[in-house]
Symmetry: C2
Subunit: 446 residues, 2 copies
């Protein structure tokens, strides 16, 4: 058995046998042969199990009736994935008409859909209200007017949350407490904007003002940011109770739960995060004399991210001399920034494993790069790989399930890779590979 390192970045049903990676019982090389490369391979049971983990953590703390797990569709969305979420009892957070269209194509129940976005179009708001979504997270005063108008026209009352900016920016290992948040989202608590919006929402006849939402960051490993955000939002709920004599029933603390991309990433367990969140919410509500609100969270990356591995085929290698005696092996694969923009966009790090064989060759300083005409088209900037990696080898990059396919482009007219679901040694296409004909599909030749 080859080294499985680090273990926590691979989908749960990944094994390493005779030096080959197997995904849910299927050899990586066999998947590459059958479906071509590059390809996203999603471990269906891994995806489902992470939904279940969140659900269990919520059930054992807030209770199943008093909490909701709402998957953030932006991380990765397809009709099949929506069906898995429906079956596992999750809600769905969409932030565009397009994401809503996928949910509806999958016949996802509208009363489990939450609608986000800083600039929802009139058409998006209308569709949401017409189909009866569970809640719209309102993000501006303009939007409160629009929801009121459209709900009035449709003879409906629409449940909303107000998105708040509590003055917390949370990052992987730190959080920054700010007086004002310089972001496009939400209503600032400290500036008074949140209080104005609350009053306006309460005065709107066709709006059912259910409570508050906040989202403090992405890829967070530490609870401190969530702690401060929960404290500030619950304190604000108490202030609003004092002013309006109303206890708002819903609190949504958003997403941002971090995952491991590389060995040195050590996010907290889901159980630990939720348990701590429960402790803080209980303590703050007790302090302010509030009933415990219904709690929602919105993980996206923490469910989709670890479920998926990208398989690439090596096309060329090239030893480049650097200063001194150093060299670097450039390993070019058949995808790149069109299927994974995160390294170029965020400086994101990934891991990689030779997937089709064991090598006993010495490790050498390597860079895994894509095939795009851009020198920044780098997938992994610096990694030790066997020096005999060669054209035809298959490389597996784990933890590509979130913001990989969902942010994919056709840069250089590269067709986007398929997404293949694997489960119990069976593989099936859930999003097919684009073809050259697809690439020409929007051309108008008049």
């Amino acid at each position: 058995m080859s080294k499985l390192n680090p273990v926590n970045i691979w989908p749960r049903n990944t094994t390493f046998e005779n030096g080959e990676i197997q995904l849910a019982g299927i050899r990586a090389q066999e998947l590459a042969k059958e479906f071509g490369t590059p390809a996203f391979i999603i471990d269906e049971d891994d995806f489902r199990s992470r939904v279940q983990d969140f659900r269990k953590a919520l059930d054992s703390t807030f209770g199943s009736e008093n909490s909701d797990l709402i998957y953030a569709a932006k991380a990765f969305l397809s009709v099949q994935v929506v069906k898995w979420l429906e079956q596992e009892g999750a809600g769905l957070d969409v932030c565009s008409g397009g994401e809503l269209a996928v949910a509806l194509a999958a016949k996802f129940p509208a009363n489990r859909i939450e609608v986000h976005g800083n600039n929802k179009s009139l058409a998006e708001i209308r569709t949401a209200i017409e189909i009866g979504v569970r809640v719209i997270v309102a993000d501006s005063l303009f939007e409160l007017d629009r929801i009121e108008d459209i709900a009035s026209q449709l003879g409906k009352k629409q449940a909303i949350l107000l998105r708040l900016t509590p003055g917390v920016e949370a990052h992987t290992h730190e959080f920054i407490s700010t007086a004002h948040e310089d972001v496009k989202f939400g209503f600032s608590i400290s500036s008074g904007a949140a209080a104005v919006a609350t009053k306006k929402a309460l005065e709107s006849k066709h709006i059912e003002m259910r409570g508050f939402h906040c989202h403090i960051g992405s890829q967070i490993f530490d609870n401190n940011g969530f702690d401060i955000a929960a404290q500030r939002v619950i304190e604000f709920m108490a202030e609003m109770k004092a002013v309006h004599a109303i206890e708002f029933p819903d609190l949504d603390l958003g997403g941002g739960f971090g995952i491991a991309y590389v060995e040195t990433d050590t996010p907290q367990s889901i159980e630990a995060v939720i348990s701590r969140m429960h402790e803080i919410v209980l303590g703050e509500c007790k302090k302010h004399g509030l009933a415990i609100p219904h709690l929602s969270i919105e993980p996206g990356r923490a469910i989709a991210g670890p479920s998926t591995v990208t398989l690439y085929e090596v096309g060329t290698t090239k030893e480049v001399k650097l200063d001194g005696d150093r060299g670097r092996n450039y390993i070019s694969v058949d995808g790149g920034m069109s299927d994974n923009i995160r390294p170029a966009l965020y400086g994101a790090e990934y891991s990689v494993q030779l997937a089709n064989r064991t090598s006993t060759s010495p490790l050498t300083s390597s860079r895994v790069v894509g095939k795009h005409c851009e020198s920044g088209d780098i997938i992994i900037r610096e990694v030790d790989l066997p020096s005999d990696v060669k054209p035809g080898d298959i490389l597996a990059i784990p933890a590509t399930g979130a913001y990989g396919r969902s942010m994919a482009s056709n840069y250089n007219h590269q067709p986007r890779p398929p997404v293949i679901a694997v489960k119990n040694s069976q593989a099936r296409v859930i999003l097919r590979r684009e073809t050259e004909a697809d690439l020409l599909n929007l051309e108008v030749n008049s």
Copy 2:
């Protein structure tokens, strides 16, 4: 007439009348109404005129028979644009099978196509040789073997250039001279890799070794980098002549010619860049006793970039308090990082103009943001705009023709905007807007 500032960032047929932007004689508001927003509006005559400017500069220096203008397709590609390039006498640089497919769909002559890429697939190489492309720019020793094998199978001899890394990194206002280049592309002159590749190419029976290519950077305003690169490549040509007793007929100095995105951007004129390039090439060839080679250049951004304006509709505005007395008006539009990733990816700056009316309101510190669920979804980080910009207003962002539509994604399941060509007060769609049906087109429901 409202202020047209800065003048050099707008397409050449843009006018400002009664406070409204007109593109090739059509009011921005009318375009927005007819085609919806967001939309890329490409000024066909502007695009063609920049091809002509390059052609003229080459004709008056190197001469029309002794030079080629090769458009870099990655900047923006569509069938219609390929037809314009064909009519204007340009060549086409493609770097993938997909880009080649568009060229072929437009019936572009194969003998004017140059094929780039650090990791061309066997299928891409085979297609290129089969159809008889003008030249393949070879990028690795593996690739030389592949070209030789496939050309041999097809009973052909394929013309190639070798891509060299001359040890120059050129940026907007500076260049860095390096001993070794830590990039995936090309063969290093200084390490000896370029000499090895030259020998190998000359020994390949089915390869016609035509000369050398280098590309030193992007968005370059200053000639120094081109000067050094030309000197080093021509010196290398002289060395290879000494070894192999052959003068290589072709020299391709690549692209990277900068354009103005904001007022403070002051790239050199096309005439000045080409004139200086001519001077250096002549001087270096004379110094080394070489005949003047056939010269090619590969502008992409410098042709497509300034030709296009993105029109957005404002959806919401929100005044956010910052520290001290400062505030910021967040103006949300109906597109964002899905149609322009460059601000998030490269920290790129853009300009913006209220397009549908004149405002006499005072200017206020503003940020133009998109509608995506991501706080980094910013189009213009800091700009003064009239304080009365409101929902329904149309904003025009110039210089979005390169790496806008070509790098566009469906992030948040946002349909990609159309590209509308305008010319002599006529508008026509050349790439249609994606629909929700298109977004679902790759779904497999088995």
